[in-house]
């Protein structure tokens, strides 16, 4: 019991500085590489320092979004049913089953010649493609075996041209945003699916997918689907795991504190000029970091006040900082003092 109490952080401890150093120091030793050996059955993900920068900068999308989907027990061991789910996940676009295509802007028609082998490999028929395209607005589709003619009813050539591009990028089957999906098997013979691209909300709705066992590395998407607390947990875990992978084990409190700081406003803020550091209350603290002149001019124009409560501004003016023993203030009870003096 004594031991547990000694691990508690004492009041006034500069936890932020300790966290920054604990993450920053190993960061200098981390190898600056963004790729892992790319094999056939593994997907590329960002690792090491680039991944940490990606998290801390709060990028809207990770460079290589990925998902890890676990299936319900009833289907997880049957390869055929797992494959059927995989079909529903991987997105197949019109362009990936095309053999050739031609566009006629004058008559506003597009002729698509589908590749039979590619169609067979994705297990889709030309009819499926045609019926999918028919659902689009202001289009007329006629199908003849593997030739599909699409007529667009639009006023001008420009919108017809954009419609042609949209048709080639239209998805036939699968979940939007999932560019690749792989079926993998663990030691126990249980199948699971890893994907390149992330779309939690849509994958969750597929039958046979265990909706509580989805992992995604897209922090903003996790925030949209599960909420800010889930995003916070993910930030802390990703920072911790990325560092552990490189062989640097830090105490979990440090990434945890970073994650708390990034999410305390209810949405994800980056650490740095446009986020936490740029929104500090103190003018001096902001000016000491980056864009000094900008902050001083703005403060001058708007008559900002600096309460000198933080660390940076107190160092700047040469005052004692409010950290550790510097936090303690002495106060004298004047009445008591008078009593003491009277006695003397």
């Amino acid at each position: 019991m004594e031991e547990k109490g000694s691990l508690k952080v004492s009041p006034g401890e500069a936890v932020g500085v300790v966290a920054a150093q604990s993450i920053g120091e190993p960061g200098t030793q981390m190898i600056l590489r963004s790729f892992h050996a790319a094999g056939i059955s593994s997907l590329i993900t960002t690792k090491g320092l680039p991944r940490i920068i990606e998290i801390v900068d709060a990028r809207k999308r990770p460079k290589f979004p990925m998902m890890h989907v676990v299936l319900e027990d009833s289907v997880a061991k049957k390869y055929e049913s797992v494959r059927a789910i995989w079909r529903k996940i991987e997105e197949v676009k019109v362009s990936s089953v095309l053999r050739s295509f031609s566009e006629d802007l004058r008559s506003q028609t597009m002729t698509l010649e589908l590749d039979r082998e590619k169609l067979a490999s994705y297990e889709i028929t030309a009819h499926q493609v045609a019926s999918k395209l028919e659902k689009r607005e202001a289009t007329e589709v006629s199908q003849d075996d593997n030739i599909i003619r699409v007529k667009i009813k639009s006023k001008d050539m420009k919108s017809a041209r954009t419609a042609f591009v949209h048709i080639r990028n239209a998805s036939i089957i699968g979940v939007a945003g999932i560019t690749k999906a792989l079926v993998q098997q663990d030691e126990a013979g249980v199948f699971f699916i890893t994907t390149a691209g992330s779309n939690i909300a849509d994958v969750m709705m597929i039958d046979g997918v265990d909706k509580w066992h989805i992992y995604s590395n897209d922090i903003f998407e996790v925030m949209r689907v599960y909420g800010i607390e889930a995003a916070r947990t993910l930030i802390a875990h990703e920072l911790y795991e990325t560092m552990s992978d490189e062989g640097f084990t830090v105490s979990f409190r440090h990434p945890s504190l970073v994650a708390d700081t990034m999410t305390y406003t209810g949405s994800i803020k980056s650490i740095g000029r446009h986020g936490v550091a740029g929104e500090k209350e103190s003018v001096f603290a902001r000016a000491a970091y980056e864009e000094t002149v900008k902050h001083f001019t703005n403060a001058g124009v708007f008559g900002e006040k600096d309460m000198l409560k933080g660390v940076a501004e107190n160092i700047l003016i040469g005052k004692q900082i409010g950290v550790g023993t510097g936090m303690v203030r002495l106060a004298i009870k004047k009445d008591e003092l008078k009593k003491v003096k009277a006695k003397e």
């Binding site: 890890h68 699971f192 989805i214 599960y226 909420g227 947990t233 875990h237 305390y264 209810g266």
Partner: protein, 80 residues
């Protein structure tokens, strides 16, 4: 081989959210010596807040569990 157990899945990511009553919120605010408006925020549009049907101005207790232990974190609901 992939280290499956290390990935935080959805059910591990979302800690339990609980609505705090107004009287309890006063006690908590006294305990920390901070008015509840200055607590970390959570948006009204947040899926977990929507689930609890919490209104702006209310306090939410989050029961977190991580390698450092079990603890309760509080967030103040704000308009998004």
């Amino acid at each position: 081989m992939l280290t499956v157990c290390l990935l935080p899945y959805a059910y591990e990511l979302i800690p339990e959210h609980e609505l705090v009553s107004a009287s309890e919120a006063v006690k908590i605010s006294k305990k920390f010596g901070v008015p509840i408006e200055k607590f970390p925020k959570i948006l009204e549009s947040d899926p977990q807040v929507a689930k609890l049907a919490a209104k702006p101005g209310q306090l939410i207790a989050i029961h977190r569990e991580d390698p450092t232990g079990k603890y309760i974190y509080y967030r103040y609901v704000v308009r998004s």
